[in-house]
Symmetry: C2
Subunit: 452 residues, 2 copies
């Protein structure tokens, strides 16, 4: 009988909890769900006989010791900043760990310790990162086994709104942590393009890197997602003479340039607080607009348009106007960072309404040469949520993590160390099982033009 | 007999060391100079009978205890990050502390402890911050005592190159820590303009805030310097209905827009390293230029011009070309941050040559109303260095700090707590004594146009 501890019972944990409780009936597992809010954990367990809800505060060493020491596997859906302290206790008590978050440097530094202890810390096994690794690695290994030379890898994913519920001019609603969207792209983004490393500072990360038409969903654009370059080695592509490697985030066409208005204004900065007691949204605009544009124009909207070098009737101005930033409405905060003020406004405007469904879109493209032919293998995943609670994103984050826990609990993998899911013994069973949940890729393979 | 400890014997410490050694002859002081490099400390003491050189490592608690506990006053010229640990030991051993650096939050948090201990931690008593506070506060107090209402305060300073030695198209050479210049303006800048708070993100801090003609030195421009707003309260201007308060850094006209090219490229980022082993400066350009500009142009210089939206013969392009960034020359580094690569290049090109003299320019303007007249009081300081070693900047940083030490050692001030030099008992004697060293302001007072 295996015992599993799931840390966190929030939105992102719903599907891993229900998946592992369901599987516990077959495999005779005991599942403990820990959350700061014990009632929330109780609710997610929903009376299942194999589930126990406990109050769990990750900053409390006694809680960590008590609950981590008594299980075999820990799955953490906590914010990523807590993974390394959970990992330290997993090492201490000899437990495996699974997370859906990026493996940070602090976690990576524990690789040897996990190896020596014969334990596995599998990170990046969610949606993105997660399913992207599974699908891309399967494509790469398949092509290489056929004798293909890999030239280029594009790996794009977006958490978006279902076309039927796409009712605002931004073609976007929040389906995940809003502040992550507000702060997206901060720091530097890096990728390899045409054999050159490319470094993209935050001030132009939303000058989109690529455009794509996807299925009958229309036009999308891509901005680069963090450090793509480090995955060239992880994907074992270093010796392949690869020229282009780009991981990116998908948005509906027009989003990125409009978002760049906030970057130019300085509204995405979360590093300092300003006093906005009694201030309105148009005060907020004026405080970030250079004085000369305000002096040169009769109204704030014209001033912002001139600052952004846009015509007053540009569709970006329509998007901004729709948000109400030129209104005399009170912000309703006192001390807040620009990012917090923007996040509050967007959370109101980009809220999932009752009945709204979300949409996950993933597109992986691998350019390769085989028998002197230049070809592109493309794999597309489109997955729709059920409603504003049962979202596609929570399903596609939670299921791969849950399936990874199952692979460990059923002793199907003997991996150790701090790893990401790039090996066949992980990607094959998980991609196969995901199909049972209606999560699968459509592949096409086509000849590329000679000059491509 | 007072004992004084000077921490740091580098360039910035030369004048405080020689000033205090000289004064020690009158006041019977003993001066200990501590530096990681004891020989450097020895050299700066230059055989003076009242001076002792010691090896001092600020990260070594025994060094701190040994040398701080045995003196009455500590003057720290160490990098600002070390001031708070020195301050903690000053508290522990009951010593006064003087620094020329900005008072950070960690130091400010010790205010009550310094007050309770009856000790003074005087920060920001160098050039800028330092002389700017002294001069501006004297102007403000004088105007207020005459019944003037303060409307606006502009406080500008620049560490520049003497006009006779201004031999490059940037009209700039390094006279102080180069990396501080490379990273200038990062984070947010804030000021008050026409009764509105203004927040300037890094991506447009070098879109200059103001232009000025100064004396017969020609045209200057200003970019805002950090958080001006917090000084409104410190300068006791909150109740004066002040509309504009701007602290800024002076550069010769044309510098800021050219510098902005580096910001746009992403070359001032010190937060991550890139591999430039074997790379040349034109590789460095290409790695930061969006691909489409490289593809659209025959050569890198045209590509960069298009990216920057400049004509190929724009004077900004001349400035960039003069730096050699389009050359096939090797960078000569392996792993380095973009800021380190840029800093290395500029340190070669903007080096003070033998015989070069530097120049300090300060300009303070106070707009006020008196007897229904709108007037501006301006104070200008222009000070030239002697040669590339005896710079104006090291003199103007070191002398006020040394004079502050003298005020404490001679018990002329009874201040306690963590303070900045805004009080008459500090600014009057130091501004007076600075005149003996040829450091003084020229004042003009004129009627402002009615619509100003």
């Amino acid at each position: 009988m295996k015992r599993i501890l799931i840390l966190g019972a929030g939105k992102s944990a719903s599907h891993i909890i229900s998946y592992l409780l369901k599987k516990s009936e077959t495999f005779d597992w005991k599942i403990t769900v820990g959350d700061l809010d014990q009632q929330l954990a109780q609710k997610k367990i929903n009376g299942h006989q194999n589930g126990t809800a406990v109050q769990f505060d990750v900053t409390n060493a006694e809680h960590r010791e008590k609950y981590i020491s008594e299980v075999d596997i820990v799955a953490s859906l906590l914010p990523f900043i807590f993974h390394s302290i959970v990992a330290k206790d997993c090492l201490k008590f000899g437990k495996h760990l699974v997370t859906a978050s990026y493996v940070d440097k602090e976690s990576m530094a524990m690789n040897e310790a996990f190896e020596k202890a014969g334990l596995l810390f599998m990170g990046e096994i969610g949606l993105d990162p997660g399913i992207d690794h599974l699908a891309t690695m399967k494509m790469l290994d398949t092509l290489k086994s056929k004798g293909g030379d890999i030239n280029a890898v594009y790996s794009f994913a977006g958490a978006l709104i279902h076309p039927d519920h796409d009712t605002n001019p931004w073609n976007y609603k929040f389906t995940w942590a809003p502040m992550n969207v507000v702060k997206a792209g901060q720091g530097v983004s890096q990728y390899l393009y045409n054999f050159k490393p490319k470094y993209i500072p935050y001030n132009r990360v939303f000058n989109t890197a690529e455009d794509r038409e996807i299925g009958n969903l229309g036009s999308f654009e891509v901005y680069p997602n963090r450090d793509s370059v480090k995955y060239i080695e992880k994907y074992d592509l270093e010796s392949d003479g690869i020229g282009t490697f780009l991981r990116g985030t998908l948005r509906k066409k027009g989003y990125c340039k409009a978002w760049n208005s906030f970057v130019k204004l300085g509204w995405t900065d979360g590093t300092y607080k300003i006093n906005v007691e009694g201030a309105t949204y148009n005060d907020f605009v004026a405080q970030f607009l250079p004085t000369e544009f305000i002096q040169n124009n009769d109204d704030l909207k014209s001033a912002l348009a001139e600052f952004l070098e846009l015509e007053i009737n540009d569709e970006i101005m329509d998007k901004l106007t729709w948000l109400g930033i030129f209104n005399n409405q009170a912000i309703g905060l006192t001390e807040a960072s620009p990012a917090e003020i923007l996040c509050k406004l967007l959370a109101e405007k980009w809220k999932l309404e009752p009945g709204d469904k979300d949409m996950i879109v993933m597109l992986h493209e691998v350019d390769y040469i085989i028998n002197d032919e230049k070809r592109r293998l493309s794999a597309t995943l489109i997955n729709m949520g059920e409603d504003e609670e049962n979202t596609a994103i929570s399903k596609l984050v939670g299921l791969p993590a849950g399936m990874m826990v199952k692979l460990i609990a059923t002793e199907k993998v003997g991996l150790t160390g701090v790893r990401i899911p790039i090996m066949p013994e992980v990607y094959n069973p998980i991609l196969d099982e995901l199909k049972e949940y209606g999560v699968g890729f459509e592949e096409t393979d086509s000849l590329l033009p000679v000059n491509a």
